[in-house]
């Protein structure tokens, strides 16, 4: 099994393709680049910040949750801390920065992470090989998020809001330089269920 990756350099993303068993138990897709930012509330300003976001139709989750609205996904990563993701590169400087003015530090993180959507009928048992968080539907559902360590990689992930318990999709925001190692772990873990990777091109 270790042979599957033996001839692939650990310094680049795995190339698109099918890995492991012939079935397609797990799928991963590298999402196209958008924009991202970290938000850290100024001292004592978390509530005011949440209120201001709410007025603008956005939800700043109070806890490890991901909330998507108006083209922006906001993920709670710690007390008074969030990551914001948007497909449209104009959204964060145009919308989030002005909203946060005076109430939060906003830092551009657009190139910090690569985003992988991971899904498929066997996604949970595959992820259990590195995710040290209970992913059972009774404990982790649509919109739940975690900031944790997976196979030595510190990352944030969440279950996509409109995906049901029986066919969940998760998005992993993986630090760019760790993305090759993350994919190697995911491919090795998903291989017994069959693993299809797309979006990474030739790696």
């Amino acid at each position: 099994m270790a042979d599957m990756l033996a001839d692939i350099a650990p310094t680049a993303l795995l190339p698109d393709g099918h890995y492991g068993a012939p079935s397609e138990g797990v799928r991963a897709r590298l999402l196209p680049g958008g924009s991202a930012a970290s938000l850290v509330a100024r001292r004592g300003a978390a509530a005011a910040l949440a209120a201001r976001f709410a007025e603008a139709g956005l939800v700043l989750p109070a806890g490890p949750k991901a909330a998507a609205a108006a083209g922006v996904t906001l993920v709670g990563t710690g007390p008074g801390r969030w990551l914001a993701f948007a497909d449209d590169v104009g959204v964060l400087p145009g919308r989030i920065l002005p909203l946060a003015q005076g109430l939060a530090a906003v830092t551009d993180q657009s190139d910090a992470s690569l985003m992988f959507e991971v899904s498929g009928p066997r996604v949970r048992p595959a992820l259990a090989k590195g995710v040290m968080v209970d992913l059972d539907p009774s404990a982790f559902g649509a919109g739940d998020a975690a900031t944790t360590t997976v196979s030595h990689v510190n990352l944030t992930f969440w279950q996509v809001a409109d995906t049901p318990a029986e066919a969940p999709a998760f998005v992993f925001a993986v630090p760019r330089s760790f993305a090759p190692a993350f994919l190697r772990w995911l491919a090795a873990s998903a291989a017994e269920f069959g693993f299809a990777l797309s979006g990474a091109g030739r790696g």
């Binding site: 270790a2 033996a6 850290v40 530090a105 330089s177």
Partner: protein, 983 residues
Amino acid sequence: MSRLLHGGLVDRSRTLSFSFDGATYRGHPGDTLASALLANDVRLVGRSFKYHRPRGIVSAGSEEPNALVELRMGARREPNTRATTVELYGGLIAASQNRWPSLAFDLMSANQWLSPFLGAGFYYKTFMWPSALWEKLYEPVIRRAAGLGRAAGRPDPDHYEKANAFCDVLVVGSGAAGLAAALAAGRSGARVILAEEDFRLGGRLLSEFTNIGDGPARDFAAAAEAELAGLPNVRIMARTTVFGAYDGSTYGAVERVGDHLAVPAPFAPRQRLWRIVTQRCVLAAGAFDRPIVFPGNDRPGVMSALALATYATRYGVSAGQTAAFFVNNDHAFAAALDAADAGVEVEAIVDVRPDPALAARAEALGVRVIQGEVVATSGKRLSSVTVRTAKGSETFKVEALGVSGGATPNLNLTTHMGGRPTYDEALCAFVPGALPPGMTVAGAAAGAFPLQECLDTGARAGAAAASDLGFAVPRPDVPRAEGAPAGISAFWHVEAPGGFAFVDLQNDVTAKDVALAHKEGYRAVELLKRYTTLGMATDQGKTSNTAGLAIMAHLTGRSIAETGVTVFRPPYTPVAMGALAGHHRGKDFRPTRPTPTHRWAQEQGAVFVEAGFWLRAQYFPQPGENDWLTSVNREVKAVRESVGVVDASTFGKIDLQGPDAGRFLDRVYINTFSTLAVGKARYGVMLREDGIVMDDGTSARLADDHYVMTTTTANAAKVYQHLEFCLQVLWPDLDVQLASITEHYAQIAVSGPRSRDVLVKVVDGADVSNAALPFMGVLETTVAGGIPARIFRLSFSGELGYEIAVPSGRGEALIRAIMEAGAPYGITPYGTETLGVLRIEKGHVSGNELNGQTSARDLGLGKMASTKKDYIGRVLAGRPAFLEEDRPIFVGFRPLDRTQRLRAGAHFLAVGAEPTTANDEGYMTSVAFSPTLGHSIGLGFLRNGQKRIGETVRAYDPVRGGDIAVEVCDPAFVDPQGEKQRG
């Protein structure tokens, strides 16, 4: 063949071929290697650890001390595999171990005649002097003579992995108690994991001819398993050993996914290491049948009474043509009758007790019951036993002897968090003491031996665990088990003259060794264990401990309870290193972090070096360059004379915002940052609380309330953590927000006298003249056609230099643009080697100097420390020892004979001084060949160094035979006034 005509849970319709020590045998699916060997009359399976005595199969489970074999061949060879737990598969290859030249004739068995000299503690007594022989002679000889199997010596071709599981109730063991617990908890809807070490659920229920409800016990097991398998909230994990209990109600387990196959299924691992996090744990791990110590009790054919019965009832195998039993308890007595029922020719049951409860049943079956003790055995394989009775002694022929001294609860997991078992006189057994949080113990593991109690305590424990967690538990429906007597009479050791009477078969510890330990004063249980090795090695004394303690108790005249017991540490059974490593081996041992320009550097033919997780370009050899030094000299000259480029993205980069950011930096750096002008950068040094330098780097001010900090590559995570700690714990009143931006930015450094010429062509029109962007200036602009960038005019090399930060996805585009712009100047890519030479020539400190032992003053940076403010480390940096005159201080060194090569690690001595610790004056930290100066240069710490510039000292390097006269000089070898970087 010793396969009984019928019975057992093996699939007689299919035959599996396997080999042991080169001979081919046949078994059936459902067999273990041990049961298949016994079925083929193979009773000699190994040699003992110390005396190399012939040994046979003793148990039918993971407590096996004797039947350790090498399983599989070549790279898959696994030593010390317990034949009693190896599930038979077609084509299985096993070999005996620890024998030479053969199992039947082992020359090392001569050791047993030396036993008077090989008793307890003989290593300590014998191999004392001369000490020169410890490593060269004694250890190799002992290791060859003792020890167990051989490692494969080649990389394991199989894959291992780790996984996490979560549940409300973890049930360990699937015997009567475990099944009852899992049913009670599972029916409530709680998430249950039922872990079973065996490949088949049922535990002892598979081996006993007793009834539960209206049918055989094994039918109950099958029905329970079927019900559990149908519950979506229950996960059954067979072939899974829970080996450790840890903090936070976390349990370690290993699942043998592919061990029962010749080769694991495609893409499936051989083993999977589980981290199980549960709310409650019900330990239902059963009990071990423990031996009685008597002369000749290690002969192949002498085994556990319950194991002998198990081979007959579960596997349809008679462990010998004829068998006898030697017991002190009703449970083993009943097992003997089960064996007879299954078809074993039982000659006699020797019971130490008068009138055992089941005597009448035995007689009805035609089995003799003798009140007495076995005092001797004979045969290379057991051929006869001698029994001492009130009337005298009697010898009769048997091939197998089932021995039971009672049941020892399998409470190992209860002691992993510090619990200490307590002795129960009535049960003649240690039972669990304090339990890990969240754990309850049920059934035989708790000393509840009778079958009905197993079912009752199991159901109660399962129900209580689920109900504790708020699940509505239906009234447990516990079936009635057939009643059975459960009497026992404490009996440990037959005192009789004659041969070896073994307490611990795996370590060859005899009753005599325990007596010797007693005589020599090693009476406390922990000392007894270390002195005799009782209870060590792969079986951890699962069966042997209690008898050893009982003998010591007898010798000291104390009770067993007073004598006490040793406790167990994880793992319960050995765990393969491969399982602990999981995915992380070879290229995946740890993550590899490529830099943003990795692909470009590969194209340039870079040689790479690991820097933590990062893989950085080390140097860029050109055609015709045959050694790294030639390449590095060329790269250094290019930077000094024209321009070079290096990827500095690995530095830690931290974004700091908030009204108090300046004040915060003043407290974490020794120098002041609150006064730094917007658009400027400053070099800073931060200390640990104890006054030692933690890290250095530059911080730049982008706005009144916005700074960006760089850290060294090595300390990126540590500094971020430190800053978070300061904000969250030390000064929560400060309004500062941190964000790591290491991953977001690529940072490319362009250095050399022509670097501005290159930069002009890279920026999108911004003014980068000396006036607009002076030394230590910062500019936010765009480069290479619209890439947002921050340009810092910094210099690590001492040359005119710039660091350009762009989003990391654009790093490769930037370096290609820089290369193109620099082509007219012969721009030269360089790596970490040249980076090192440049900074040594310039006398800048780096990781070698920031080594966790040096203060800012030691590093020559003492003048940077502000006296107008407080900062972390200030008070302890002022300790007298830190301020002593002759403390080693940072200076430069050059060899008097310029052709000589300096070496880092050399210590400094005064000329003519003896090389003693007392005369040690410091040490060399960094050296390089300076192509700029044409000779070797060094940096280091020398007592009172700054005041000794111009002196000559010796760089003494006994490890590599160096003793070189060096001149103490200023650490800045190149451009000491710093004019080049400001130009």
